[in-house]
Symmetry: C2
Subunit: 368 residues, 2 copies
């Protein structure tokens, strides 16, 4: 078995409504970077990574220019070996960071290919047995009026989501409190509710806000502090009953290991397309399980729904529909849970619609 071809493409996916949160400002579009790996028997694996609009072309260049030539002709089934090879090929430009995104897309394609070769869904391949996973609707709604926020919550519940996440981090703390109170009152005391501060607060502010939020029975408070302030997060996790969730910004298994050693989270939020793919995601999950942490993988539901199904304690997967138009497949929600698809491998195919968003690499790579 040999890798016969590797094709990478860059997409810029416009958002119907620009997103905003307290760290990234306005996000008018996402970048998606896909990798298609074909073996010498004609089987194909599809992997992807994404950005919130920055660095996508650099990720494509790392894949196409620096990783691909080193992988052609290799056995696609030796994933751990190929992962190490990619990691050391790019290590001089730093461990993690942009390099991890490039490695992710390839690693995910290799896992998809392996699942297809074996005719087994990815989550079964990984030993998973949970056919439905917990899901919540992710609101990116910091700039919404209170009325719009309430409308969104009603819409989420009507569409069958059993849980909701909302953003906090408004300039006035009193607004955050009023908004969380309003949503809690609207949905009642028992519907799971998360809040996400996107690293907005300093330590004293986070301390105060976590204290106030204790009354709202939240599933978690996400990124109350800078994503790398492990000591600060650990102090909050120890003090308050409300669980602390963090980890989405980290870009390697080593960084997650450091976070876990600090016990900086109750819910760990690894993101497979950011940490280097499924291979390091599984190692992160193993460390998290050993440390007794719960899991709430960040973004990329198409992929994480499969990985969540193989984690021993039930993770929460977040539902965002932004990348959906890129793929032909849709995820089904039943009884407030997401149904884990049974197609072999990752089982995603690119939609007709996606073609409209392809970026011409030659053009964007050219000198101005």
């Amino acid at each position: 078995m040999k890798i016969a071809s590797i094709d990478s493409a860059l997409y810029q996916v416009p958002l119907a409504v620009p997103l905003s949160d307290s760290t990234h400002g306005e996000i008018p579009s996402f970048e998606l970077i896909t990798v298609r790996i074909r073996d010498d028997q004609g089987l194909e694996g599809l992997g992807y990574t994404y950005t919130v609009g920055v660095a996508g072309l650099a990720i494509h260049v790392l894949i196409d220019r620096y990783l691909k030539p080193d992988l052609l002709g290799q056995d696609p089934g030796r994933i751990e070996h190929l992962w190490e090879r990619m990691w050391w090929r790019l290590h001089y430009s730093g461990r993690g960071g942009t390099a991890s995104f490039a490695i992710s897309a390839i690693d995910i394609a290799l896992w998809d290919l392996t699942g297809k070769r074996q005719g087994t869904p990815l989550w079964r391949l990984l030993g998973g047995s949970t056919p439905r996973v917990k899901v919540y609707a992710g609101g990116v709604d910091l700039h919404f009026s209170l009325d719009a926020l309430k409308d969104q919550a009603r819409r989420f519940l009507a569409r069958g989501y059993g849980a909701i996440k909302m953003k906090v981090g408004r300039p006035r703390l009193s607004e955050d409190i009023a908004r969380v109170r309003a949503i809690r009152e609207l949905i009642g005391p028992d519907v799971p509710l998360m809040v996400d501060a996107n690293q907005q607060w300093d330590r004293p502010t986070a301390q105060r806000m976590c204290r106030v939020f204790e009354q709202f029975n939240l599933v978690w408070i996400e990124e109350p502090l800078d994503a790398y302030d492990h000591e600060g997060h650990a102090a909050l996790a120890v003090q308050f009953d409300t669980p602390i969730a963090t980890g989405e910004m980290l870009t390697s298994a080593a960084e997650h290991g450091e976070l876990i050693r600090h016990r900086a989270a109750d819910y760990l939020m690894p993101d497979a397309p950011r940490v280097g793919g499924i291979t390091p995601f599984l190692k992160i999950a193993a460390q998290a399980e050993h440390a007794g942490l719960m899991l709430g993988p960040h973004f990329a539901m198409e992929l994480h729904v499969r990985l969540a199904a193989a984690y021993p304690t039930e993770p929460w997967v977040e539902h965002f529909d932004w990348l959906e138009p890129l793929f032909n497949e849709r995820l089904e929600i039943k009884g407030g849970r997401m149904v884990v698809p049974t197609r072999p491998g990752l089982g995603l195919t690119l939609s007709e619609q996606s073609k409209a968003w392809t970026r011409e690499i030659a053009e964007v790579g050219a000198r101005p």
Copy 2:
């Protein structure tokens, strides 16, 4: 004062003799990525970063495509502000890593421009007062025969270097020991000698080798362990009289801060074109000074000779001539020390020769 233009170029610089060390294998060429920033009064700053042959085009893309549009029209004198702006612009693709290289080239160009505007050499601008700094000749010679190694040492001394670094990490440890012994005997007991293992050893091997090397009166043993094994390096630094040097692979001030907190080095080896430029280099130096560490900046002598001149305890700067043909200027060695140039800013200009090594960006960016 406004930034009127930013031009980035990618060079592939062939090496007359391919290098090799125990981590990177064979290195046939370097990549150099330059940034020229012109202000609205026609003054120009030149900055650069480099790789050992991988990821250069991705770094160029980050600069040209994602950072440049956000910097045009800004005041080039507000370096701290612009640095933060670049860091947060790229943060979603990871803190440090490839992003740090891109930020480095721009940050260095901004400092050069600032020095030129004030008519002051960079090291004076930074408060430096040492007109000559300690220098050693860096041998990348793991694959050399013992005879070739000895010839190189004789050549280094004849050319006026007062200190020599050699590679270790051969498959047989006995070879390493014999080679270091031979060079120590050749140059005598007092000429400063360093060895560099380039992360080659595991902990038990490093433990044994550091023990054996105690007899050779080495200035330092460099990277005996994985670059991120701070606990391992700290244990060696505590146990042995021979100083431990590490830090060259790290790509941010935060990563260096972590290394320093672990006391994983006696000599810290930050690399300004890898950590995000002069701005974070100065913060790393401040942390190192506070922790009582010595400094041995990695590579990039054209830049580090200026930064070393401003550090309170005398750093060792390593002399490699690989990038020299790119610039018109040459560094002078007098009495075993490197003379710190007095031209304003960084004071480098690209040579006629460099043009031959420019890579056509449009071509390399195109799809295959």
